[in-house]
């Protein structure tokens, strides 16, 4: 199959970023010239649109309660974006804190410590977490 045909096959299964598509095509053994031509054709035909995908991806991650730091890291890996190309992300702690498992943790001191650690792993800033918990009091 041609690189373009293979690219269409990959894209018809699920949404991909241009970077992911390039990696997939590379795995299939196509040359860099063939890959860049196939990716260019997909972009021209409207089957690949990183700008839209980035916006949808950020929105989806925010709704899942993922913090800005983790979203930035995921964007770098998924879209191969440099630091300056990443759009500003304002993820709210409210969505994460509304989860029942976090609500339960709020009741004890140890629970709160666990909650702070968990939210930090989720990519939220420590100062913001502390400020939100103070407000919740």
């Amino acid at each position: 199959m041609t690189p373009y045909g293979e690219a269409l096959k990959i894209l018809s299964r699920r949404r991909r970023s241009a970077h992911e598509l390039k990696l997939k095509l590379k795995e299939k053994g196509f040359s860099p010239e063939e890959i860049s031509e196939a990716v260019k054709k997909c972009i021209e035909r409207g089957f690949l649109n990183d700008a839209d995908y980035i916006a949808d991806f950020i929105n989806g991650q925010k709704n899942k309660g993922v913090g800005p730091y983790l979203i930035r890291m995921k964007l770098k890996m998924k879209f191969n974006l440099s630091e300056e190309k990443i759009p500003p992300i304002e993820a709210s702690l409210d969505i994460a804190l509304k989860k029942p498992k976090y609500q339960r943790l709020l009741k004890t001191r140890e629970g709160k410590q666990k909650l702070i650690a968990s939210l930090m792993r989720k990519g939220f800033n420590l100062d913001e977490i502390r400020a939100s918990l103070l407000f919740m009091k």
Binding site: M1, T2, Y4, G5, L8, K9, L11, S12, R14, R15, R45, G46, F47, D56, N59, G60, N63
Partner: protein
């Protein structure tokens, strides 16, 4: 893309007819079809080289089992329209309760059931899998669609956005609309509700109209010919932050608009806020149409290259 659908839903026919058609459709055993049967809809999705022939065959099978005339209640879509219809159905935008998510589970079960019974055409796999994707995208991009669209729901949203804690609410007038809002607010946990009424006794504690400025939220819904709450008379400071005037003619002096701390909204402005949701719905439909066209083009190009 060679896919089609024939079916009925809550908008096209009544319960009795839906029952008959659902029973008849459940007995149809055809290759390359998916039956989506829920309490509010019965739809058969099909694929094949000659869609008109399959469509006719399905109709004749239903006709053999349903005695009463039903053709006028059916709707049929083909190709792109069929795709867009399934995407809207799975997103819950064709449901009785807007944006409900149960339909997505039911559609997935129907697809899995059809898949388990025999081999499905790749068009049907593509149709269902991509429709689920579009539905998911709609749910994440337009979460406001799921929220209440009624007048009571909109007032509750306003109250929640204005006040951090449960507000103390004064209702002026024992009108039907006020009674609906009171019962809705009570269901949603707002219990500090007071009512000012001329004569009728009511369950809610009575409050004098002259003390309106002691309440966080004031909702007026009477047919009084003149302003009941006038700008002059009570000296500030007011505790009130939000005033809702549902009366026509208006019950609250419009000069309250000039007040720096009070927001006054009348029935027309509330109506515009509700309409905003309908605009969202139109935007969703546009988005679905664009996504569907793109996905069909992708499928067709892929198929053309595979044949070569």
């Amino acid at each position: 893309m060679r896919v089609g659908i024939v079916g009925v839903n809550h908008k096209s026919c009544d319960l009795q007819q839906r029952e008959m058609i659902a029973r008849a459709a459940a007995q149809i055993d055809m290759q390359d079809t998916v039956l989506l049967s829920t309490c509010n809809r019965t739809e058969i999705y099909f694929s094949g080289d000659d869609l008109a022939e399959i469509h006719g065959e399905i109709l004749s099978l239903i006709r053999g089992r349903v005695k009463e005339p039903f053709e006028h209640t059916l709707y049929s879509y083909f190709g792109e329209d069929c795709f867009a219809h399934l995407a809207l159905v799975t997103a819950g935008l064709d449901s009785v309760v807007l944006a409900e998510s149960e339909i997505q589970r039911q559609a997935k079960l129907s697809y899995e059931q059809a898949f388990g019974q025999g081999k499905l055409a790749k068009e049907l796999h593509y149709l269902f899998q991509k429709s689920f994707k579009i539905a998911k995208k709609i749910r994440t991009s337009f979460p406001a669609l799921k929220s209440e669209i009624s007048l009571e729901g909109m007032l509750l949203r306003l109250a929640n956005s204005f006040f951090q804690t449960r507000p103390k609410v004064l209702f002026v007038g024992n009108s039907k609309v006020n009674r609906q809002i009171i019962s809705f607010f009570r269901k949603k946990g707002i219990t500090d509700l007071f009512l000012h009424t001329r004569s009728l006794p009511s369950e809610e504690p009575f409050a004098h109209l002259s003390s309106w400025h002691e309440f966080d939220l004031v909702i007026c819904g009477t047919k009084a010919p003149d302003y009941l709450i006038k700008a002059e008379g009570v000296a500030p400071p007011y505790k009130t932050r939000l005033m809702i005037d549902l009366g026509v003619p208006r019950n609250i002096d419009p000069r309250f608009r000039m007040h720096p701390y009070i927001t006054l909204l009348n029935i027309e402005e509330i109506g515009n806020l509700i309409k905003k949701k309908e605009e969202d719905l139109e935007e969703v439909k546009e988005m679905v149409r664009g996504d569907v066209q793109n996905l069909i083009l992708l499928f067709q190009e892929k198929e053309a290259l595979c044949v070569c």
